[in-house]
């Protein structure tokens, strides 16, 4: 196995509310290796997004340490690429201006930035839309811009928080296949939050399941499918069995 690009060492975390504190992580320990595709599932409120907030540096652990590419820094902001739920493009910026945003913030020279963005837009099938505004684009296209923006942050680690939850079923399917193709081509490490067990199975190498609160340990499932994957692979007996187990684990926590 290759080197660990992300490591949580005994990380504890809690949100402080005025009257109480919500314990979410308790001495959590896990590692993610270079080039992996990891999905994270868990009931609503189990702390999936909080994991991402800790990784990006929007929150700091109460104790323990977070290592990115082997380094531990208190200010991690700007060190990973993050693609949020929905697209979150700025409606007042053109597609080009949206994509160039992380480069602008990093202070990359205009010329360099231009080259990178134009290249990226082309690769992602968005050429010709540079001067359009997000409102002119379809949902799938907007997601691709948002992904490009995360990629242009330049980091080898990409965090995707339910990126496809707002897409309709058919568009979602296409985007999943497209995402897999991009990931296979680029070799970045991806952490992917989803509610959809099928999606997790279809995309990832390993699945992390959050079941308890506070989370002491991530349950982990290695997906028994080879790549490249097809939708029909999801119907293989070992996969359907894993799927039922995953759903069972999640259902324990459901209440309407």
């Amino acid at each position: 196995m290759s080197k660990a690009v992300l490591e949580f060492k005994d990380v504890s975390f809690q949100y402080q509310e005025t009257d109480k504190s919500i314990d979410l992580l308790d001495s959590l320990h896990f590692r993610v290796f270079d080039g992996e595709f990891i999905s994270i599932i868990g009931a609503s409120g189990s702390g999936k997004s909080t994991l991402f907030r800790l990784i990006t540096g929007l929150e700091q652990p109460v104790s323990g340490s977070i290592h990115i590419n082997g380094e531990q820094r208190p200010n991690r902001l700007g060190s990973v690429g993050y693609m949020p739920q929905q697209d979150l493009l700025m409606p007042w910026r053109t597609i080009y201006e949206n994509a160039v945003l992380p480069l602008e913030i990093k202070g990359v020279s205009k010329q360099d930035a231009h080259q990178q963005v134009v290249k990226g837009l082309k690769e992602f099938g968005l050429s010709g839309y540079e001067q359009n505004y997000p409102s002119d684009l379809s949902g799938g296209m907007k997601q691709r811009v948002s992904f490009l923006r995360a990629v242009l942050s330049g980091s080898n680690i990409l965090l995707l928080d339910e990126p496809f939850s707002a897409l309709d079923a058919m568009t979602k399917l296409s985007m999943q296949e497209w995402l897999l193709a991009q990931w296979e081509k680029r070799g970045q490490t991806i952490l992917f939050i989803t509610h959809d067990v099928n999606e997790a199975l279809f995309l990832s190498d390993r699945i992390f399941i959050l079941t308890e609160r506070p989370v002491k340990q991530l349950k982990e499932a290695v997906v028994p499918m080879n790549r490249p994957r097809t939708l029909s692979g999801l119907h293989a007996p070992e996969v359907t069995k894993m799927k039922e187990q995953l759903i069972e684990q999640l259902r324990e926590r459901i209440s309407l």
Partner: protein
């Protein structure tokens, strides 16, 4: 244009009824006929446009400019410092329920018949919508986008200029669309209370002359002024918000 036909028709009917009514009543100083107002406008166009319009315009422009500068400055201060916000926001909101404008007569004592007594009235009447809308706009920027920018390593300055300011612009224009017609009213009210020139002053003065058409003529110009200012704001808004479909 087709859409406005019923409105235009109604206005036309109204003007005709007014004209006929005015001719029947036949006391020009109580109810001048629209034709009489038109003629008066034509007669006085030089005087009204050159002298009085210039004077009123100056009040409006200075008043609005000060309101915009102060309003934006205060709105920014309030979004940047929570102490300032806690201190000023309740006062600004409460002040809106206070008829400060009723203090206008005393401004004449403080500022005399200079332009400032009228500018202050204009500021008082336009400051609130500009400040509150700009403030609400700066606050409206999405928390998600802000966090996204932070994950990119954005500084406070980046967030202000790349997120807060663009988010505030539509709100600012809403505020301006309220403030601009109010500024015309403010200038006119200011001029009632103490002036030697200006359209509001002229109108009021014509009352003492029993010149009904003379009362209405400057108000027609004030109205056009209000409409033109409004259209200018809309024009800038369209330009600034061309990303809106």
């Amino acid at each position: 244009m087709r859409n406005y036909l019923p409105s235009i028709l109604l206005i036309a009917v109204f003007v005709i009824v007014w004209e006929v009514g005015a001719r029947i009543v036949n006391t020009e100083f109580i109810l001048p006929a629209p034709s009489g107002i038109g003629l008066k406008l034509w007669d006085l166009k030089g005087l009204l446009l050159k002298e009085h319009l210039t004077s009123t315009l100056l009040i409006i422009v200075i008043g609005l400019a000060i309101s915009i500068v102060l309003g934006i400055a205060l709105a920014i201060t309030m979004t940047q410092s929570s102490v300032m916000e806690k201190t000023f926001y309740p006062i600004i909101i409460t002040s809106q329920t206070i008829p400060i404008i009723a203090l206008a007569p005393i401004f004449v004592l403080w500022f005399g018949y200079s332009i400032w007594s009228k500018v202050v009235v204009t500021i008082l009447i336009t400051f609130f919508p500009i400040t509150v809308s700009t403030y609400d706009g700066l606050r409206s920027s999405s928390k998600e986008l802000k966090e996204l920018l932070l994950t990119m390593g954005a500084s406070k300055k980046d967030i202000f200029f790349k997120l807060d300011v663009p988010s505030a612009i539509p709100y600012f224009f809403s505020g301006m669309k309220v403030a601009v017609p109010l500024s015309v009213i403010g200038a006119a009210i200011g001029e009632w209370l103490g002036a030697q020139e200006g359209l509001g002053y002229f109108s009021r003065r014509m009352m003492t002359q029993f010149d009904g058409a003379g009362v209405f003529a400057p108000i027609v110009i004030l109205s056009l002024l209000g409409i033109i200012f409004f259209l200018i704001v809309i024009m800038f808004e369209k330009k600034a918000l061309k990303w809106r479909k």
